[in-house]
Amino acid sequence: MLQDILVTGLVNGGVYALLAIGFSLIFGVARIVNIAHTAFYMLAAYCFYALLVKAGLGFLLSGIIAVVAVTLFSMLCYRLVIEPVREHEAAVLIATIALALIFQELMLFTFGGHYLGIPSTLDGSVRVLGVSIPYQRLLILVVAAAMLAVAWFVLYRTRLGLAIRATANDLEVANLMGMNVHRVAMATVAISVALAAIAGVVVAPVFVVDPFMWLAPLVTMLAIVVLGGLGSLKGSLIGALIIGYVEAITVFALPAGAYLKGAVALLIMVAVLLVRPEGLFGVAFEEER
């Protein structure tokens, strides 16, 4: 059981980290609470399903096309829906909720409400520490780790990353220093949705694909981001691992754990917030007036 907890926690933590870091980035740069974030993850999973099962393309090709298509689509959505109401925070919030609902209903209408299964990318399993890990879960872990490394490289070793971090730190000063904050916001949207889309593509063969698959990870992701500190990338990563393990422990160790896993994860978040209102790694910056 201990090995199960270790492996499940790590794999789920990796997926959550992909989602949470993207959400955190976009919140940091554009101050958008993007409720539609996991809806893009759902879209990517559907796109992958359509290309792989319906169109019969290969795993790699359909995965790449799905990620690119969803990323481009998200930039379009940002341009048409979010940017016109950027000044009104409340309007942005429900615009993202409405977008998520639209995606959910479109998928429900196109593919129906039933669960769709995707054949697993890799068959077979490997034994580590006496517990057998299917290659598929190993793949999730490897992709998550690789993508986190790529995201780290982009953010901390390139000029674009510097611009993104500067904008996140202080939008007005970044603007005064000659950065095109609109373009930076656009690039951030692309990076963050690309991470979510990759997560959607790699988990699709393990989880089932249905139009409501965005709700559960949305809540977990929000809990992680708040737990780690809004806008903090390190916090999101560590928060994702914490929540991943907490969920794994609850499911394996408690009776009725499957029902309680969300509640326990959220309780941990509330407990952390009571002690540190700005989350584990958040910065308590002065309120903008």
Binding site: P84, E87, F109, V219, L230, L273
Partner: protein
């Protein structure tokens, strides 16, 4: 008389007179639900719009009211007339509790943390199905009154009373303090306002109103189920509130009265029924693109202008202010409008 007041008066008269003129049970059913949700949306607005505590977990209060009232009337056999109030009281207690836990949180942290509370409650309900009925909820409740018309009157009159009460509260000195807390909490504290006490009070009041709506809802549908705690309901109230225009009370109520019957009406069509949530979301999105501050403030600005000198509101056809006689500019230039805000 101001156009907005005329509109409100017409709406009240129409609500009260409708069953006398037209008592189709289907229409009455939809309007009863609309009234219940209007109370729910107005209570959210007091908390989120006026005080700035944008609550993403407002369904907690709705569900708390529904489950409390359902359990009390079913297990203890108390009449719904009393248990509805008990539901409101328990929801107020929950509001106080959530408010207490969230006192130090602000902005997006508060929104995202409050999202957690109804889900924690939902997890507990599912984990103890013997007590809560699990996924099926608690069914077989008694209605407050029997006939559709009297049910409609119970919902409509309590809605009018609660919404008007909330509006009075928000328009009073208390409401001004709430505005101050939203705009600048530090400054409000520096002015000698115990912001903590005000925030707790608002959480409790909003909780009580939402709990009352939840209890009425449970007794009307005769079931208190887990759907009254779901994220979808919490998001729904956020959509109503922002679509109607926050910090107005009448805005969210107007939004419910437009959006809820609209979705029900769309759902009644063959073929369109499956698409009603899609159409709903698209309408919300489009309306927001044109009126980002919400529906009610937009309409109000079209119908009325504010006197630049004494802030008295005037019908938009007036040339001079009806109170102080200052000329009302018919055309405000873009530059002036920008400076004015």
């Amino acid at each position: 008389m101001l156009p907005s007041r005329t509109l409100v008066l017409l709406w009240v008269v129409a609500l009260v007179a409708l069953p006398q003129a037209y008592d189709d049970p289907y229409v009455l059913r939809i309007l009863t639900m609309t009234c219940i949700f209007a109370v729910f949306a107005a209570s959210w607005d007091l908390l989120a719009g006026y005080t700035g505590q944008v609550n993403f977990g407002h369904a907690l209060f709705f569900g708390a009211g529904a489950y409390t009232s359902a359990l009390m009337s079913l297990k203890l056999g108390i009449t719904p007339w009393a248990t509805v109030w008990a539901g409101a009281a328990v929801a107020a207690l929950f509001g106080f509790l959530v408010g207490y836990l969230c006192l130090r949180l602000r902005g997006s942290y508060l929104s995202l943390a409050t999202l957690a509370f109804p889900l924690i409650a939902l997890g507990l309900l599912f984990a103890f199905p013997g007590f809560s009925g699990g996924e099926l909820g608690i069914s077989g409740l008694r209605r407050v009154v029997v006939s559709p018309t009297s049910n409609y009157y119970v919902a409509a009159l309590s809605m009018l009373a609660i919404v008007f009460g909330l509006w009075l509260l928000a328009d009073s000195r208390f409401g001004i303090v709430l505005h101050a807390i939203r705009d600048d909490e530090v400054a409000a504290r520096a002015s000698g306002i115990n912001t903590m006490r005000y925030k707790l009070m608002v959480f409790a009041i909003a909780g009580a109103a939402a709990g009352f709506a939840g209890a009425l809802f449970a007794h009307y549908l005769r079931v208190a189920g887990p759907s009254s705690l779901e994220v979808a309901l919490s998001f729904q109230v956020v959509i109503w509130g922002i679509f109607g225009g926050v910090a107005t009370i009448y805005g969210p109520v107007a939004a419910v009265f437009i959006l809820y019957p609209l979705t029900e009406w769309l759902g009644s069509f063959q073929g369109v029924g499956e698409l009603r949530l899609l159409i709903f979301a698209i309408i919300v999105l489009l309306v927001l693109l044109f009126m980002p501050r919400g529906l009610a403030p937009w309409v109000r600005d079209k119908l009325e202008t504010q006197c630049p000198r004494c802030k008295q509101r005037n019908g938009s056809w007036k040339k001079v202010c009806r109170l102080c006689g200052a000329p009302l500019q018919a055309q405000v230039s873009r530059a002036q409008r920008l400076v004015g805000h």
